[in-house]
Symmetry: C2
Subunit: 155 residues, 2 copies
């Protein structure tokens, strides 16, 4: 249940040509308090309920628990969420031994593109593609739970 992720800004749209898959995502938060977020997500054809705990001191690892739910169950729960629904497309890209997930945001977060890579330990080495920009791991303003309350267009 521990998740280790590093997060980066993205410099160009070159990643789109390298993506082997993309998924449209709508999500909201029943609780956006960063000590214990509760997220409802709807993808193309599935629903998910995800609970994340507070980050560790390093900002790299967080408790994460997720369960798949039907889209029919997820819809009324998404309507129940706090105002500030997140709309984005997630692109999946193979880079060396790892998969990068790149989120292109819409609506009030239009213009923001963020890449994440999941690691098995905090010091694991990974290949950095050319389109990868500044690291923003642990910066709470890039948390989706914060983007729902303080969107990129208002920074």
């Amino acid at each position: 249940m521990q998740e280790i992720e590093r997060k980066f800004l993205v410099n160009s749209e070159a990643f789109k040509e390298e993506a082997y898959k993309s998924t449209r995502i709508s999500q909201g938060f029943l609780n956006s308090n960063k000590l214990r977020t509760v997220r409802i997500r709807i993808t193309d054809d599935k629903g998910f309920l995800t609970i994340k705990g507070k980050s560790s001191v390093s900002g790299l690892s967080r408790l994460e628990w997720e369960t798949e739910i039907s889209k029919a169950e997820a819809k009324p729960l998404l309507l129940l969420c706090e105002p500030g629904q997140i709309e984005k497309t997630r692109f999946y890209i193979n880079v060396g031994e790892h998969i990068f997930e790149v989120d292109e945001f819409y609506g009030e977060n239009q213009g923001l593109i963020v890449a994440e890579v999941e690691l098995s330990s905090e010091d694991e080495v990974f290949e950095k593609p050319d389109w990868l920009g500044k690291e923003v791991t642990g910066d709470v303003k890039y948390y989706n739970s914060m983007l729902s309350k303080q969107p990129y267009s208002k920074w």
Copy 2:
């Protein structure tokens, strides 16, 4: 997913002799905002995650969604909850055509006993046992999410 419940105080401990089952419950809230509560519950042998929406104007019906999870999954999620864990025993009692659930609270809510009956419509008739006291349906201070923040012993 609509839940219609009426809630009452309890006048005596006579209900205990009539109970056909009782269960020890520990629970906490990942979100106790009454617009959208997210509850983690551990009973004798099971775990549950429950999401409840805002009450209707009458205070009788609320959106409710629940999924069973393992006790092993529920334990770290309960630790993640807001301070103010609820400890209680729930007694189940047949009264006429209905089942009353009576909660006897412990810890900071010691002394509080509350009965609930679930109905299929807001105007459904039901038999009232002798030990049933004043109706408190819709009174937010008796919500478990409120009892976790403002326990009975501090009223």
